[in-house]
Subunit: 342 residues, 2 copies
C-alpha cells in the first residue's frame, strides 16, 4: 500500500448520493461541482430530472449522472427500505462501489440507511465483526479519531478491540499518524474503573498481542485534549457523546452571541472580535471535518451530516479521494481481513 499512498494525485472516482440530505439536490450537486477535478470524478446518483437543472451552465466535465430513484428517508426502517427499494439512490450508489465503477460512496442521507447498505450491499470485510462509524473530533492540538459513533448500540469487549484496530488504521492512513495512541473512553483513569464493557475491554486493548499503542482510559473531560489520538467506545455512548459535543458547542456559541448583543459596549466588542470568533466556529464545525466513515466494509463509505452544505459535501469528497489514494479500505482488508481469528 505504501506505493499507493505515495502515488499522490491519481484520479479517483467517487459516487455521491444526490438525493440524500436536507438540502438535496441543490447543495449536493453544488458540492460535487466544487470538488470535481481531473483528479476527482464524481458520479451523481439520483433522478436525472432533479439533478440536471443544477448543472445548467456549470463545467460538467468531471461529473456524470448515474440514474436512480429517490432517496431513502430517515423515517423508514433502514434494513427493510434497503432491501425493498433497490432503485433508491443509496442502493444504486452503493452498487457503483461493488461493481468497481467508484472507489467510494458519499451520502448526506439517512445514517441508518448508509449503515444498512454498508452491511447488506457493500458487505463487511471478511474477518471484521463490527464495522464502525469513525469520526474526527476537533482536539485542541490535533484531530482525535473517535469510534464507534453510532453503528453498534450494544457491544462486547472484543468489538472495542476491533474498533481500536480500525481507528488506528484510520489515523495512520487518513490522518498520516505514524503510531497512533489508542485510549478507552471511560469514567475514571484507573484500569479498575468502568462498566462491565469497559472493564472487559481494557485488558484486551492493553494486551501486546492486539498490536495497539494503548495509553489507557480517557475521561469525557479529556476527549478533546489529545490524551489519545484514537478513542474507542460503544456506539451508544459514542453517538450520545458526539451529539452532546455538537449541542454543547451550539449552546455556548449562542450564549457568546447573546453576550455580544447585551449592550453597546458588548456590541462593539462583538463586531471587532467577529473575524476571530468565526475561526473558532470553523474549528468546531463538523462541516470542516469530512471524515465520518463506515469502516470495516469492502468499500469507502462516507457519511455526511444531514444538513450538509455544498462546502461540507465538497470537503467530504476531497477527504474521500485522499482516503482512497492512501488505500484506507485496502489497509483494513490487509490487516483485519484474514477471515477472523481475533
Amino acid at each position: 500500500m505504501s506505493e499507493r499512498a505515495a502515488a499522490g494525485g491519481r484520479t479517483v472516482t467517487l459516487a455521491l448520493d444526490a438525493e440524500g440530505g436536507d438540502h438535496a439536490p441543490g447543495e449536493i450537486v453544488a458540492g460535487a461541482l466544487a470538488a470535481a477535478s481531473p483528479d476527482l470524478r464524481v458520479l451523481l446518483v439520483g433522478r436525472p430530472e432533479m439533478i440536471e437543472p443544477h448543472l445548467a451552465g456549470a463545467d460538467t466535465r468531471h461529473v456524470e449522472i448515474v440514474p436512480s430513484g429517490a432517496g431513502i428517508s430517515s423515517l423508514e426502517e433502514p434494513a427493510r427500505a434497503v432491501r425493498s427499494k433497490r432503485d433508491s439512490s443509496i442502493v444504486v450508489g452503493a452498487r457503483t462501489v461493488v461493481e468497481g465503477r467508484a472507489e467510494g460512496f458519499v451520502s448526506a442521507g439517512s445514517t441508518g440507511a448508509m449503515l444498512a447498505v454498508g452491511l447488506l450491499v457493500v458487505k463487511r470485510v471478511p474477518g471484521v465483526k463490527r464495522p464502525a462509524i469513525v469520526t474526527v473530533l476537533p482536539g485542541g492540538e490535533a484531530p482525535v479519531v473517535f469510534l464507534d459513533a453510532g453503528a453498534n448500540a450494544d457491544c462486547r469487549p472484543e468489538h472495542l478491540l476491533e474498533f481500536g484496530i480500525l481507528g488506528s488504521i484510520f489515523a495512520r492512513r487518513a490522518l498520516g499518524l505514524r503510531e497512533p495512541r489508542v485510549g478507552l473512553l471511560n469514567i475514571g483513569e484507573e484500569p479498575t474503573k468502568g462498566n462491565e464493557l469497559a472493564l472487559g475491554a481494557y485488558p484486551l486493548l492493553a494486551d501486546p498481542a492486539g498490536g495497539l499503542r494503548f495509553v489507557g482510559n480517557v475521561e469525557g473531560r479529556d476527549l478533546l485534549f489529545n490524551k489519545a489520538d484514537v478513542v474507542v467506545t460503544d456506539g451508544f455512548t459514542g453517538n450520545v457523546a458526539l451529539k452532546l459535543l455538537e449541542g454543547t458547542a451550539r449552546a455556548l456559541l449562542l450564549r457568546v452571541r447573546d453576550a455580544a448583543r447585551r449592550d453597546v459596549r458588548s456590541k462593539i466588542g462583538g463586531l471587532l472580535l467577529r473575524p476571530s470568533l468565526t475561526r473558532v466556529r470553523a474549528v468546531l464545525d463538523p462541516e470542516e471535518y469530512g471524515g465520518t466513515c463506515l469502516l470495516g466494509v469492502q468499500g469507502l463509505m462516507i457519511i455526511c451530516h444531514g444538513n450538509s452544505s455544498r462546502r461540507a459535501v465538497a470537503n467530504a469528497l476531497r477527504f474521500g479521494a485522499e482516503a482512497a489514494r492512501r488505500g484506507l479500505v485496502q489497509t483494513v482488508q490487509e490487516e483485519l481481513g484474514r477471515g477472523g481469528g481475533r
Copy 2:
C-alpha cells in the same frame, strides 16, 4: 411535607467534610464561613489542628468543629477505605447524619467514597434499588436535572424508571417544578432507537403506572435545550456526558480566549466583550450549581467537584439547606420508601 416546604428559613444544620477536595481545608472552611448564618449551622468535620488556623479572626458563631481523622483519597478503593477508616472525615461526617446531628453532609472529597458511605453508612431508603447521582445542567431556558451521573455504571431498565422517579422528586422539591417532563437520553427520537437498555427502559418510563410525565427520547444534541426537565441514563453514559460537557465548555472558552488575543482588533474587542463573556462562563460553571447529590439514601448527601472553591462550597451548603427545608429526602422516603414492590 408541604407545611415543611413552606416553612422558609428554619435553621438547618449540615456537616461539611473539611478534609475533602483539592483545596482543603482552606477553601472549604472559607466556604463554610461564607454560608454559615443563624439559619444554617455548619459542622466542620476534620482534624481540629488543620481547621482552627483557618477560623482565626472569623465569626465562628454558626460553625462548630466535629473532630475526625484525615480524609479518604480518591486513589483508595472506596468501599474498603470506608470500612477500615472509621475515623476518616467522610465516615464521621456521614455518621453525624445517621445520628441526627446534621440533616445532610457536603463533601468535595472522593466521589467514590461519598457513594460508599452513602450505601454503607447512611444506607439506602428501603425500597430504592439504586441510589443515583443527580446533577443539574445549565439548559438554555431552565436547568436540566440529569441522572445518573456516575453512581451505577451498569443498569437495568427498571433502574432507569427509578431514576425517572428520583429525578422528578428532585425537580419538584429542589427546583420547584410542578410537573417535570422526563426524557430518556438516547441515540434517536423514535421509541425503536437505542441500545438494549434504552429499548427496555422506554416502555417502563412511558407506562402510566410509573406515574411519570414522560416525553420520550432526548438526543445528546438536545440535552441542553430543555426538551425535558429531567433526563435519565445509566451512570456510565451519564458520567461520560457530564465530563464531556465540562471538557467541551473548557475547550471552547479557551478558543474564544485565544481568538481574543489574535491581533490588536481582536484584543480590543475581547476587552470590550469581557464583562458579558464572564457572565457566559458563570452560566456554564459547575460551581454555580451546588446541586449534585446522591439521591435514594436516608440523608441528604451533596457531592462537590474536587477542585471546589469557597464559592462552590458556600453554594453547595446553601443548596443543601434549601433542599433540607423543602424535604427532599423525606419526599423520596414517602414516595419510594415502601419496602419495594416496584
